[in-house]
């Protein structure tokens, strides 16, 4: 199985343009997450979804939107990119229904540069 795939691998984007980062998982996990990784800050949660049809805001949601139309896909959209959104973006998934907690599996990441 592929686990979690992300596309594109990397992207250079002009400020003001929009972009959607794609994330697909084949593990039938109910929960999915988007993180951004910045030097010295670790990974910070942008948005999450506990099940298809629902989403929630994480620690740093401003400037980002997500949707969860089905179990497998969780795209992240930047409506109007700004240079501060230059980062590496990781998608993750977990079966959060398993008690007490089930680990999150991470995709390979998307490196985004906004100029």
């Amino acid at each position: 199985t592929a686990g979690i795939t992300q596309a594109p691998t990397s992207q250079i984007l002009a400020a003001g343009r929009s972009m959607t980062l794609r994330c697909t998982q084949d593990m039938r996990h109910n929960a999915m997450y988007w993180y951004r990784q910045d030097l010295g800050l670790g990974l910070r949660l942008i948005h999450y979804s506990n099940t298809a049809g629902t989403t929630g805001k994480g620690e740093v949601p401003d400037g980002y939107s997500v949707s969860r139309a089905n179990t497998d896909d969780f795209p992240l959209t930047l409506a109007s990119a700004v240079p501060s959104q230059t980062s590496v973006y990781f998608c993750a998934s977990s079966d959060s229904r398993q008690a007490p907690y089930n680990e999150q599996f991470f995709g390979p990441g998307t490196r985004l540069t906004v100029l």
């Binding site: 929960a31 929630g56 977990s94 907690y101 991470f106």
Partner: protein
């Protein structure tokens, strides 16, 4: 609010030497704790996790970690480091709604 602190940004050790990476957490209840490793250009891989029970947990690649409630710590150790262990290591705690809260990471360099 929950938080994770990794005091060491960079650590350099010689191959074959022992390693300890520090992690301190802030959490009111019994924490669920994790260590992840990220090799250059790669995603995160789970090394080990602590939920309850034995406070010394074994992970993959010869790593172990010890949960010490009195010190709010979950330090990662390895008795003998290999050059392939050079990577960035993240400690994390489960916050509300099953979300992970990460530390800033410790970058490990290994000298031959």
């Amino acid at each position: 609010a929950q938080s994770v602190t990794q005091p060491d940004i960079h650590i350099t050790v010689s191959e074959g030497a022992s390693l300890e990476l520090r992690c301190n957490y802030s959490y009111g209840a019994t924490p669920y704790l994790f260590w992840y490793v990220q090799s250059p250009g790669q995603g995160l891989q789970l090394l080990l996790k602590y939920f309850s029970g034995d406070t010394l947990v074994q992970g993959i690649k010869g790593f172990e970690a010890e949960f010490k409630r009195s010190q709010s710590s979950f330090n990662l150790r390895k008795p003998s480091v290999h050059w392939s262990d050079a990577a960035e290591y993240f400690c994390a705690v489960v916050g509300g709604y099953n979300k992970l809260i990460f530390g800033a990471g410790t970058r490990l360099a290994v000298h031959p």
